[in-house]
């Protein structure tokens, strides 16, 4: 299964990649903004995407719209510092399969991904 990691922080990208090593996902790329993310998404059509919201150029919610338009069955996990319920709801309504608030622990993200992929924990 192919994975795309989107976050404007390089550290977070590396952290997410590291925390998800055990899932044996094929990392097709990482992006620091929504536009770069879409390029990668179109090129590789990953099944799983982790998506930050606050990013330069194109933000995560706009990027999510595009991803859902291109391939609605994509499993998107939104990972954002925006903790207000409205943002989370918006992400889910747009088609995200999960919402994880920053900061998170390795266990939290692993469990969230497990849920999304439908793996029993």
């Amino acid at each position: 299964m192919k994975l795309l990691i989107v976050d404007d922080s390089n550290i977070m990208r590396r952290a997410i990649e590291k925390y998800l090593t055990d899932f044996n996902l094929e990392l097709v790329g990482t992006a620091g903004d929504g536009e770069a993310a879409l390029q990668l998404f179109k090129a590789h059509l990953p099944e799983l995407v982790t998506l930050d919201i606050t990013m330069p150029r194109m933000d995560g919610l706009a990027c999510l719209d595009e991803i859902m338009r291109l391939r609605p069955e994509t499993k998107v996990l939104v990972i954002s510092a925006l903790k207000d319920p409205s943002t989370g709801l918006q992400a889910l309504r747009k088609g995200a399969k999960g919402f994880l608030a920053k900061p998170f622990s390795p266990e939290e993200i692993r469990s969230e991904v497990q849920q999304i992929l439908g793996l029993s924990s």
């Binding site: 590291k18 954002s80 925006l82």
Partner: protein, 148 residues
């Protein structure tokens, strides 16, 4: 600013450290920022608009960021670029988490990150600017809040 809001800010920061490292940060005695610039090695600034106006910045020393980075990435080495990144992410997380208190109309900008002593960051912050010292594992850092 109200006491509740200030407390919410500080709680977000202490919880951040707790969540990421398992060790909560301690608060130092807060004070009002004067003429003096008080920043450490790396500073992330975020502009705030919408329901509140002004800005916040989080500033920390190299040592603290390296230690924090080690918690997130393990033994992978952190270059200067990564420390920039980390302080930006931290500021973003603090400001983003504050939406829980201030609501969805609390708009936060993409962070900008600066290094060394900086003179012009105050312009985003509306006085009085509250400086809250955050001590984690004996290392000092500041959260500065300046909202109308």
């Amino acid at each position: 600013m109200t006491e509740v809001e200030l407390k919410a800010f500080t709680r977000v920061v202490t919880q951040y450290f707790n969540n990421v490292t398992g060790t909560a940060a301690q608060l130092g005695l807060p004070y009002i920022k004067g003429e003096r610039q008080e920043t450490f090695d790396y500073t992330g600034v975020i502009g705030i608009s919408g329901s509140r106006k002004g800005g916040v910045y989080y500033t920390a020393g190299k040592q603290l960021l390296e230690a924090l980075g080690a918690f997130i990435l393990g033994d992978e080495p952190l270059d200067d670029e990564a420390l920039y990144d980390l302080v930006g992410e931290l500021t973003n997380t603090i400001a983003g988490n504050m939406r829980e208190i201030f609501g969805s109309n609390f708009l936060i900008s993409v962070p900008i990150i600066m290094k060394g002593k900086i003179d012009d960051i105050v312009i985003k912050l509306k006085p009085p600017v509250f400086i809250i010292p955050i001590i984690w594992n004996g290392m000092n850092s500041h959260l500065a809040i300046g909202l109308e």
